[in-house]
């Protein structure tokens, strides 16, 4: 039963990883940009949620009302001011600018909140669980996170395939030059992509804050988990990303069953294994 339990917890954990991954995958899809600060933005959102809760007394989950628009605004401004000037030049410039942003965010959080580990109390839902089978219980929060990630991926698909903004995203991704001839301002489209990515980051940050301890240096690991979910799942396929997150979560859970030191390592090794045998991921998009 221990193993079944571990696998079930791993699947649910995969939902959180898919949330980390969705925003990353979105901006790579639209502008081929990899945001190294992605993980640090998740952690910054966790702190933002904490500040909102302390200042307003809102329930942590309700802090999204403020955290989501604020993060989206931050993402839009960051894209317009810092990243757009580097787009289209070469691979290195945007990458290194996001690396710089990552350093600034990490140390900014360190200066503002110290290196102490934090956690956001959410009135008991973080510890509540339901026993579905004898010996197998599901945590309420992990189930909520998983459901949220399914909903968010569903909503993202709708935006991508059913709205003018989504059409602009896809057109810009296909052919930036011709997209401009369709009166699309790519600077704005890129800004909107980063804003949307950052809105998802905010939700991921809130869940992270309730689910686990976090500190200013927690960002890079979240970036790597999200990235691994994207690659394992297959580029350009959001449902694949969810599957990738689940594979990663299960691998980590099984690793942890073997030995605590193996939890994260097992996830990384599965990532390299997938890269070795299925370089395009488990569910590559059909073209």
């Amino acid at each position: 039963m221990d193993w079944v339990n571990a696998i079930v917890q791993g699947v649910l954990l995969g939902g959180l990883y898919a949330l980390f991954a969705a925003g990353l995958s979105l901006i790579f899809g639209v502008m081929r940009l990899v945001n190294i600060a992605h993980g640090d933005m998740i952690v910054a959102a966790a702190y933002l949620a904490m500040v909102v809760v302390q200042a307003t007394g809102l329930h942590p989950l309700a802090s999204a009302v403020l955290a989501v628009p604020l993060m989206a605004l931050f993402g839009y401004a960051m894209q317009r001011l810092l990243l757009n000037p580097t787009i289209g030049k070469d691979l290195l410039s945007p990458l290194l600018v996001t690396f710089g942003i990552s350093i600034i965010l990490q140390n900014g959080l360190l200066a503002g909140f110290t290196a102490d580990s934090r956690r956001l109390a959410a009135g008991g839902i973080e510890t509540a669980s339901v026993e579905v089978l004898p010996g197998l219980s599901l945590g309420v929060l992990p189930v909520m996170v998983f459901a949220a990630s399914v909903l968010i991926i569903f909503a993202l698909e709708l935006v991508f395939y059913r709205t003018p903004l989504g059409r602009a995203f896809r057109a810009t991704s296909d052919d930036q030059e011709i997209a401009q001839l369709m009166m699309i301002d790519r600077r704005h489209v890129f800004g909107m992509a980063m804003a949307l990515s950052s809105a998802i980051v905010a939700i991921a940050g809130i869940f992270l804050a309730i689910r686990t301890n976090f500190d200013p240096s927690s960002g890079p690991a979240r970036l790597l988990f999200g990235f691994e979910a994207v690659i394992i799942g297959g580029l350009g396929n959001l449902w694949g990303t969810l599957a990738g997150g689940i594979v990663l979560g299960v691998a980590q859970a099984i690793g942890a069953q073997i030995s605590p030191g193996w939890q994260i390592l097992a996830g990384h090794l599965v990532f390299f294994l997938v890269l070795a045998i299925r370089p395009r991921g488990l569910f590559p998009r059909m073209d």
């Binding site: 990899v34 710089g100 990552s102 990490q106 900014g108």
Partner: protein
Amino acid sequence: MGTAFTIQRSTRTSRVTAIVALLLVAVLFAAPWWAGRANVRLLGEILSFVALASLWNLLAGYAGLASVGQQAYVGFGGYALFALAMFLGVHPLVAIAAAGLVGALVAIPIAPLLFRLQGAYFAIGTWVLAEVFRLSFAQVAALGGGSGTSLPVGIVAGIAADRALREMLLYWSALAIAVAAVAFVVLLLRSRAGLALTAIRDSEIASESLGIDIWRTKLLVYVSVAGLTSMTGAFIFLQKLRISPDAAFSVNDWTAYVIFIAVIGGIGTIEGPVVGTILFFLLRETLADLGTTYLILLGAVAIFVMLRAPKGLWGLVVQHTGITLVPVRRRVVFPKNS
């Protein structure tokens, strides 16, 4: 009417550079006699960063392999040195070279895996690799596990009889590594592979159609950079005498600083990393007391340079004076007439 021309690489400035560089190496070689003990140690550290930055610059600036995970090889080199010295009794100075060899060998099977990641995703892949190394070495009990280990006193004493000589030998190995790294970059860029790299940088598709094997050229660069980075890592931790997974595979120490150096000095130039290292250490020696503010400042400066002067400080110098100290480009020279 055919015009005669010759292909020229050296210029008068470059010959002067070669002489000045030789003099500089000679002066640096003599450092133990003109600098204090603490300064020699600092010089050793500076030289190790010259090596790391030059190698990263070759990888990212010339070969388009934007790695943010070179700490994998710094740490691996350090651990390899500790393992070779502690378990096999290899003399530490010999172990520096051996660590480089092992690092290169390890990189051979890794490169094809990482090369499967397209564009910027390669960067994150290199970081995952570094994490795999960090977590794996944390599992090795014989090397102290997660808390790390110190080099046994007996081994340290075995480097040389007295402390002064030991420090001199260590310093000279740093000098040798830095000179080797810079010379390797210059020679590689002047070789056939260097021409191929320039062609790849200009247009990957065009160079492929010219029959340049991009994959093999990148492999060559990745593996040799891994080897030399491992050697540098071996030196760094031999000087520190202590190693732990977190210190060995620190992304801040071995990648963030190195990228900062290359960015402010000038990515894609030979001189940039050297200029950048000097600037970095000037900043560090004056501002490091500021702590987190100092790091925020470094990040902000790097972003500012990327946006406003993407060729860095050395790029500005070249733009305003036209000087290239170390020409790696061939230029076509037509005889002056009429």
